[in-house]
Symmetry: C2
Subunit: 363 residues, 2 copies
């Protein structure tokens, strides 16, 4: 295992679409959303432990989730926690994590990944990440992972790659032509048909040297803030320094702030059974189904004349469902949601309404 | 208030159709099914307190419900409890209650009524019962109450009355021609159109003298068993005696055993907003509805694009319902039921399945 390999797991999201399973105090990455005994962040951590030493894995999250991270990942030390005092999108927290890592190992090669995605083919994933890290170790580039699209999903960003320009040592790593945010269905169809587009999985790899160069070029105001802290990272002075600069730090994504602007961006075309688990519908596709095509997490659920439902209930709850087609049925603690799968995008609105009507306790 | 007036409230049922609100350890009569703060047996007791002295009200129930009756009706003394050691249908428990009352007051005039029916027009009900008790005090007859049918309901028994033969002092009390059990829809329609049929509400009135005569004539084997206990009722010897005779006592209803055979049966045609609350559907009809015609018991329920549903959930539970038409949604403790209203007759089957799959705890 290469001691220069580092991993930054981003775990600051609040996952409102999985309400009421995900709640403000227990967002999606901290729940066992597949019902198989481990949470998404635990799955992510265990996956990366096969790629880099456990002590090289950093968790970026909001300071309010410090305790839950330590509970779910007991091997993570306080020094490996990158705690944000406020939400500033991905660029600032990546800068922060990079500076912390630089203080430990300026030769680090880093993979940055979300904590709440699903990877079905772990062996393929590990192979891709290891080869990607090798590539960025030897090439001054910013590497992102592009997933071969299986359908014209309009919820993802797309990356157009140049099929004629690939690394000689890895013919799956191409130069990027352009990033496109969530397209219309018509355009998404054209993208998929062309064979030139990949889904942006939000997984990045780079050497510290390459990413610092990019920050200096494209986000100097962010970079300068965090650069002031050199010498403070991994010391008791880190926390007050961070609290201070986060107040004034720009809110910007790494995609918009860096990836879409840099000239040395490459994409690793891969296929490892990836899902961002962005919606109940995407989870339904991935879960095991019963004979009536219901995807059920729960130990005491009986279904009658019900099909294509996704059900998440506590294991001790007896649930009888009859006559439901294509519904989401979720119970978590003091909240029950019953909603048509096709209308799941409205869940955000329901959460907002519940907050107004009944208070923060339930969201 | 006439001290000879007595009331026997029958509270031995298990109300499986209202599962999971009703459970074996808390059947329908013991739950606040309307969500207005009092249980059905409490409503029934309070209604009869306006007709006869509280100490003249007897509660017939299974011995397993003794504690819940005493909790819900603290004014009821142990002597007013008619506890059955086994379920033997209505004739034996009525005989039992009659003998207990006879020991106190052989001149008693008794109304027997279910504990779990709904009466919307209480003033009319009280007037009917008082006039009915007066009638049976002065006439040797067995009086039942017949409800003017509002629709051809096939779930009720029907009583054909003789419109030419009524009591001179009360022209709503007619001779009975025939009792008919639950008819087909076609026949029920004919019954309603003819104007000669009433729904059998299962509420009876008689003097002890008249009912003992009827038992001697039509159910002598039941009567003889309970007659042996004269001198034991309302003493410490009552309980062991009852335990013994219930083992051998016939299982038979008062309708089949007595009412359908006796010649001196009369029916009081009445209309006091009665429902036997036999199904979730009947409850839906009676409950207040919100602007989308949903009948909701629960304090934190939000509905979206949902209509004609009946919802019963704990007051602290946040429930979001979307896209449901004509459903029953009930949560009680550790059980959740979601079922189409039109299929509610299958609930008995679900309860049986839950018992087999997950145990008695949930039924």
């Amino acid at each position: 295992m290469n001691n220069n390999y580092y991993c930054v797991i981003m775990a600051g999201g609040i996952g409102a679409r999985f309400w009421p399973m995900s709640r403000t105090n227990t967002p999606k990455q901290f729940i066992d959303i597949l019902g198989d005994g481990s949470t998404l962040i635990q799955k992510t951590f265990n996956r990366f432990r096969k790629i880099c030493p456990a002590e090289n894995i950093y968790i970026v999250t909001n300071e309010i989730y410090k305790d839950i991270v330590k509970e779910q990942l007991p091997k993570i030390t306080d020094e490996q926690l990158v705690l944000e005092p406020a939400r500033r999108n991905t660029a600032p927290c990546i800068a922060y994590a990079n500076y912390k890592i630089k203080q430990k190992n300026p030769n680090a090669v880093v993979v940055v990944a979300p904590s709440d995605h699903l990877i079905l083919k772990e062996d393929v994933f590990i192979d891709v990440i290891e080869k990607g890290l090798t590539a960025v170790e030897h090439n001054d580039c910013l590497l992102t992972i592009g997933i071969k699209p299986s359908c014209p999903n309009t919820g993802y960003g797309y990356i157009q790659f140049n099929e004629d320009k690939f690394l000689p040592e890895n013919k799956n790593i191409y130069d990027v032509k352009v990033f496109t945010e969530k397209p219309s269905l018509e355009i998404a169809k054209q993208f998929v048909e062309s064979g030139e587009f990949l889904w942006n999985a939000g997984i990045f790899m780079w050497s510290l040297k390459s990413i610092f160069n990019a920050f200096e070029l494209f986000l100097p105001e962010v970079n300068d803030l965090f650069k002031q802290g050199e010498g403070l990272y991994n010391t008791p002075n880190e926390l007050p320094f961070i609290k201070q600069i986060y107040q004034v730090c720009k809110n910007i994504s790494i995609d918009y702030g860096v990836m879409e602007k840099a000239k040395n961006v490459k994409v690793y075309a891969a296929d490892f059974g990836w899902s961002d688990l962005g919606t109940w519908g995407s989870l339904f596709e991935l879960r095991d189904k019963n004979e009536d095509n219901n995807a059920i997490v729960g130990k005491k659920v009986l279904t009658y004349n019900s099909h294509n439902c996704i059900v998440n209930v506590p294991k001790n709850k007896v649930v009888v469902l009859q006559g439901l087609e294509d519904y989401i049925v979720v119970e978590n603690d003091d909240v029950l949601l019953i909603c048509k799968k096709e209308d799941e995008q409205q869940i955000r609105q329901y959460v907002a309404d519940v907050q107004v009507e009944f208070g923060n306790k339930y969201v």
